[in-house]
């Protein structure tokens, strides 16, 4: 493979990751890392370093729109970022302690969980039950309001189970720094079903947080010299263009079959990762 072909291949993987990511609401990392490591044979640490840069790109691109539309809850994001960023620092340091077999095993495990979670996020929180009172959430002023464009109504919401949100955020941050993913697959179900936030607020706030979380991880990988310009450039550009195109031109609603196909693909990649991990 020539350097031009290599760059084009990385760009193609990143473009796909950005498209799938924006359609299904997952960060591109879950596609970028296996794509680089399994298809192109890139060292897994370099793949994770480049993927973190890609996660920053997706999040930053999408976050501008979410902040403008008032979907993302800035207070909630900043509070949970204390946990995700701390986790990301620990994860990024740990990543260097593990060899690629261990990282493949953990990544395979994450993919198994992620394919299951694709269905969990479809479950809506039961809105008829009252939101349990949480003094900490009130003290931290986590309640909010957004204007739902689809129904034309203002939606007011309250948060609950702040400690659960913080604990899961810590784990999501750890996974992000360790494996180069956004961690939305862990945060969104917890924010929606556990903290009882509307699904749109959960997704938007989680996406906003990913940028800061991945920036912390990327900082560690950069300072260690594990961000390769030849990989990171097509990853950043590809993911950004893919995510922008995906969110502009394709409606999210009719993505049931894409979701199904992606789940099958994830199960296959999980199998490949675990196989490589054991070898």
């Amino acid at each position: 493979m020539s350097p031009v072909e290599f760059t084009a291949s990385v760009f193609g993987i990143a473009l796909t990751a950005g498209l799938i990511g924006s359609l299904l609401g997952v960060g591109g990392g879950i596609v970028v890392v296996p794509g680089l490591a399994l298809l192109l044979g890139v060292d897994v640490h370099l793949a994770i370093g480049a993927s973190l840069v890609g996660v920053v790109a997706t999040s930053t691109g999408a976050a501008a729109a979410y902040v403008r539309d008032g979907l993302a809850n800035l207070r909630l994001a900043m509070l949970l970022e204390v946990a995700t960023v701390a986790g990301a620092l620990a994860g990024a340091v740990l990543a260097n302690r593990f060899d690629q077999h261990v990282l493949f095993m953990i990544f395979g495990g994450l993919l198994v969980y992620a394919s299951a979670a694709m269905f969990i996020t479809q479950i809506r929180a039961k809105t008829d039950k009252p939101v349990p009172h949480d003094a900490l959430a009130d003290r931290l002023r986590l309640s909010g309001m957004y204007h739902d464009k689809a129904t034309g109504k203002d939606v007011h919401y309250r948060a609950t189970r702040t400690w659960l949100g913080l604990s899961v955020s810590l784990v999501a941050g750890l996974i992000s720094g360790l494996l180069g993913v956004g961690g939305g697959i862990l945060k969104v179900p917890t924010m929606h079903l556990g903290m009882r936030l509307p699904i749109k607020v959960s997704t938007a706030t989680s996406n906003l947080m990913m940028g800061v979380t991945a920036a912390a991880g990327a900082g560690v990988f950069f300072a260690r010299g594990q961000v390769a310009p030849l990989i990171a450039a097509p990853v950043a550009a590809g993911v950004l263009i893919g995510a922008t195109a995906g969110s502009r031109f394709l409606p999210r609603i009719h993505s049931a079959w894409i979701r199904g196909a992606f789940t099958v693909l994830m199960v296959y990649v999980a199998f490949e990762m675990l196989r490589k991990g054991i070898k």
Partner: protein, 135 residues
């Protein structure tokens, strides 16, 4: 803690819009630098990658420029990889700038809890750049 006054609410909204524009600007500047850097890398003979520069991507012990000064020096010399890395650093710095804006926002609102929380996040982000170096 009292609920925010209408004045504060518009102020918050203004800063939120500012944050949104800041994020977009960071992305545009970064993408421009990364694209320019890639073009410079492949056009011309000086920075063009060869088979060896691909081979090292499969090795665990490979290390790339990892200090601010080395990246700035390479970018100033108009080296392709240097321009790419500068673009990557701008990209990574964009969410950090968002946290700085959030510190300003909560300071304007005199919200002590959130001033403390955002400052902690900012400190950890700065630490991340040193953590990878001491290993």
């Amino acid at each position: 803690m009292s609920s925010p006054t209408p004045d504060q609410a518009t102020n918050t909204h203004r800063i939120e819009l500012l944050i949104g524009n800041l994020l977009r600007l960071g992305v545009i500047v970064s993408l421009t630098l990364v694209t320019l850097g890639t073009l410079v890398t492949f056009i011309g003979d000086r920075d063009r990658p060869d088979a060896a520069s691909l081979d090292v991507l499969h090795l665990t012990q490979t290390r790339f420029p990892h200090t601010l000064t080395s990246v700035l020096r390479e970018a100033a010399a108009f080296h392709g990889p240097g321009l790419v890395m500068l673009g990557i650093l701008v990209l990574v710095a964009t969410p950090v700038a968002r946290v700085v804006a959030a510190v300003a926002l909560f300071t304007a609102e005199r919200d002590r809890i959130y001033i403390a929380l955002t400052t902690v996040v900012l400190i950890m982000l700065v630490v991340s750049f040193f953590l990878g170096r001491v290993e």
